[in-house]
Symmetry: C2
Subunit: 198 residues, 2 copies
Amino acid sequence: MADGDIDRLIQLLARLPGLGPRSARRGALYLLQRRESLLQPLAAALTRAAESIVACSTCGNLDSSDPCAICRDPGRDRSTICVVEEVGDLWALERSGAFKGRYHVLGGTLSALDGRGPEQLNLGRLLERAGEAGTEEIILALSATVEGQTTAHYLVERLAGLPVEVTGLGRGVPVGGSLDFLDDGTLAAALKARRPAG
Amino acid sequence: MADGDIDRLIQLLARLPGLGPRSARRGALYLLQRRESLLQPLAAALTRAAESIVACSTCGNLDSSDPCAICRDPGRDRSTICVVEEVGDLWALERSGAFKGRYHVLGGTLSALDGRGPEQLNLGRLLERAGEAGTEEIILALSATVEGQTTAHYLVERLAGLPVEVTGLGRGVPVGGSLDFLDDGTLAAALKARRPAG
């Protein structure tokens, strides 16, 4: 019989992805046993995030300022916009350090099944940005899923007519990937995208 | 490149048991995308827990009052004290609904390897409670591990001489347990603890 306050904490923790009722109980206990080193700092960090983090009105990234740090950074290439589904994808690309342009977060994909149409996506602002002087290339970094590719196809149509090049990510064998463990679709795509060796 | 405030939130979330850096990122994003339904309530619940939850000075349970709700409950049998290692064990027993007495949370086990001696455990108060008029039985509900059993052995010695019966949990096949999947130690204990059938 956990206390009411503890129960409420456990119920909220259990709603986090990857935590179930059991790990939420464990997490709550862990927090209560580390009041000053973890519980209080986490409460403060959440309160601060709730107050300070906003979606960038240019690209949709989450940041404590608007425009976000990436959109404000004069060192980033303004000619290329990388379109991603979610902020998590933007974070993944930033961790790779492989992209020096700017982003546009769609906020999801088109999905007939889930009833998500173009009006649910952050599209208008993308079309505006694509039409701005200086924008040369739009990279569609969308998932290689049916929904991601449906969305990419739709974006290609919407962006046609604008003076920008629209590209997609390369397909093939992931770095470190063993052929034996790859699915047929990836193998077929890798064969199709073959290139001179050496 | 997550924002500084987001980075800090991710780092703190990653310290929860069962969450790594990847799931902490996913959790932070999930929270930021559910500001009013989850982020703010969780921040409030943590702040409230940090302010209100204290260890019961009688039994060591965590509660928003001292003595805790269990120690205050006049409906609970005052003759029996169930000794557990951690508050999580107390919660597990409460969920089972099988125990109607009161508890005593040791706060861990003796461990020569980790340098935990008797002075690190909540022992003095247990000996006081064991000596109080009305206390008839002390149930040692400790883990069936080397450390749990070392601690149980030590407690039996310390409680000797007091007018209380000291008991331990039954050993055997867990409910729903298939013999094929049980370890040898449990099988041996179950054979030793055999009882008339039917």
